[in-house]
């Protein structure tokens, strides 16, 4: 049996008390659950335990405090999903949109990759991202797309530093992050006087815009924007300064002007 943390010991003692004192009513149960919830909320320190124990604990908590408490919701979700958002976020362990934006199951269809990039339309090269967009837009009819960039992004750092730093190349990473080249070029040109850290931060944001532009190259995205008002949003989560930026991406076609014939 894995060793108990102080939190777990407290929970065990409480449970023992309930078994012994039968007159404790439901309010005590609720209070104990609230205490457990509080303890879990504080659990950003995972106690050193095996991978298996970590998974069991996490799943058990989810089952007791979320799944079993919302039977109607999960019955509906078992039939199908209709999320309101398609989200592109970085694979970075610190920026799970479910955590920072409090998404519950069913709310967000989520793609996570290095540096939260959306490549331009290419059915052979980039079928992974294309498949996710295609499924979300055409099958699930998701009405909003969010691209979430973040501070201290390793992928953007790599994009900005390589190959100028003469480091050996990474076979797969370098091929992927070069999707963000237009953002890098723009930042280097417009902010040449900034230091490399500032340039990286600017590129983290510019890369979100670059990906938003790339979304337009998918014909079904473009079509949904025009006909169904599909919304495209950019987000920047800065966990260093504690900031959260949110903007909408819009493009529109102006009315044409006619130049009359001259005889």
């Amino acid at each position: 049996m894995a060793k108990h943390s102080p939190d777990q010991l407290a929970i065990e003692e409480l449970k023992k008390l309930i078994r012994e004192k039968e007159e404790l009513n439901e309010s005590a149960d609720t209070k104990i659950e609230d205490v457990i919830a509080e303890l879990q909320l504080q659990g950003c320190h995972p106690t050193p335990e095996t991978a298996e124990q970590r998974i069991i604990d996490g799943f058990t908590y989810f089952k007791i405090h979320n799944f079993d408490k919302n039977p109607d919701l999960y019955k509906e979700l078992a039939k199908g999903q209709s999320p309101k958002f398609l989200i592109f976020a970085c694979s970075d362990s610190r920026v799970s949109p479910t955590t920072i934006l409090n998404f519950q199951p069913g709310e967000a269809f989520m793609v996570r990759n290095i540096a939260n990039m959306v490549p331009p339309f290419n059915q052979l090269r980039y079928s992974g991202v294309g498949a996710a967009i295609e499924y979300a837009i055409l099958e699930l009819k998701v009405p909003n797309i969010l691209i979430i960039g973040h501070s201290r992004c390793g992928g953007i750092a790599r994009l900005m530093s390589h190959p100028e730093d003469d480091s050996p190349s990474f076979e797969f990473i370098d091929d992927w992050v070069k999707i963000g080249l237009p953002a890098k070029i723009k930042v280097l040109k417009e902010h040449a006087s900034c230091d490399s850290l500032e340039q990286r931060t600017l590129c983290e944001k510019e890369s979100v815009n670059n990906s938003l532009v790339n979304l337009h190259t998918y014909p079904f995205v473009d079509e949904q924007i025009r006909s169904k008002g599909l919304g495209l949003f950019g987000v920047y989560y800065d966990f260093v300064n504690g900031e959260f930026k949110l903007w909408k991406y819009e493009s529109h076609v102006t009315k044409h002007i006619s130049i009359p014939h001259c005889h």
Binding site: Q42, G43, C44, A51, E52, R54, I55, I56, D57, G58, F59, H65, F67, D68, K69, N70, L73, Y74, L77, A78, Q81, S91, S93, V95, S96, T98, L101, N102, F103, P105, E107, F109, M110, N113, M117, Q123, L124, Y126, S127, G128, G130, A131, E134, E139, N144, R152, E171, F172, I173, D175, L202, V213, N241, G242, E243, K245, L246, K248, S251, T254
Partner: protein
């Protein structure tokens, strides 16, 4: 002539008027917009982790958008613009509330933790999960910030080394070689649309992104049809969901730098299956000694567990 414009400059200064179409929310300072104060009452509901209350909050937000009946007084074109602006406003408000909830319940309560994470991440796990909205590992397995480096794609597929660069193996390269994670989890789930597409795929000329991607799982489909052809289509899909996880685990071993680490015990590879119909979770670990990668590929597993 097309012009592309952003509705506001994302690099603009930090203080923005409330009516602008973008928000900047600062943590840990008192500069929160007035609207946030109004929604303070709604924030109280976030203190309890309850989905029912989460859904009610959506209704409360709608009621606060303006006096009822206002939209009926406007003519068509104005109605469209207002509806669009309302939708946009709804989204901004929704996301803002979500972030403030995270800020209050997690960020502000663990300042040292987040300060340390801001400097570097050292996750022990890498998770490959499906993009499906119902199976986020942060919900289902309770992963906290800093714990897992996560890829999410359609049908939680791992393409083999020979397929060349993709976003999935770029992330693998980073997680295994730079972050040096100790465990890789491939987590599949019930009612997977991607697997269903794989099982329904026909060899016709029509190309689609989904087809070009899920074809990675082709061997899993072949194995399923061989083992379970007498079952219903739905049951075959369930079988394929699990078969595909094992196939992805084998594909992980086609990467030399992964195989090397698994062989000398630095890295463990696991499969997981989340069934959201009966809320159960199965987990198993790849047994490297007994596994054959070449040819048909035969996986050996150990440490199986099932929780429900």
């Amino acid at each position: 002539m097309a012009s592309i414009a952003l509705s506001s400059d994302p690099f603009a200064s930090k203080t923005l008027p409330i009516s602008s179409s973008s928000y900047c929310i600062q943590l840990g300072t008192s500069r929160i917009s007035a609207r946030a104060l109004i929604t303070g009452r709604i924030e109280q509901t976030h203190l309890r982790l309850s989905t029912e209350l989460r859904r009610n909050q959506g209704f409360t937000l709608k009621a606060s958008m303006g006096p009822p009946g206002l939209t009926e007084q406007l003519n068509n074109s104005k109605l469209d613009t207002l509806a669009e602006a309302e939708d946009e406003c709804d989204i901004f408000n929704d996301l803002k509330d979500r972030f403030l909830s995270f800020k209050k319940n997690k960020y502000m309560k663990n300042p040292e933790q987040f300060e340390s994470l801001a400097k570097a991440q050292e996750p022990k796990f890498m998770v490959i999960a499906c993009a499906d909205s119902r199976v986020c590992p942060s919900n289902v397995l309770g992963f906290q910030p800093g714990e897992t480096f996560t890829i999410r794609n359609i049908a939680n597929l791992v393409p083999p080394f020979v397929r060349g660069p993709t976003e999935t193996n770029a992330a693998l390269e980073f997680a295994v070689n730079t972050l040096q994670v100790e465990n890789i989890f491939v987590i599949g789930h019930s009612c997977c649309g991607g697997i269903r597409a794989l099982m329904s795929m026909q060899d016709d000329a029509s190309a689609s992104f989904i087809k070009n991607w899920v074809v990675i799982g082709k061997n899993a489909r072949i194995k399923t049809e061989a083992a379970a052809s007498n079952l219903s289509f739905d049951e075959q899909c369930s079988h394929c969901e699990k078969e595909s996880i094992n196939h992805s685990l084998l594909n992980l071993l086609t990467y030399p730098w992964i195989e090397q680490k698994v062989a000398n015990g630095e890295l463990m590879i696991h499969g997981g299956y989340y069934n959201f119909i009966d809320c159960s979770f199965e987990k198993w670990t790849l047994d490297y000694r007994g596994t054959k990668v070449d040819g048909n590929g035969r996986i050996a597993t150990k440490n199986k567990a099932f929780w429900c």
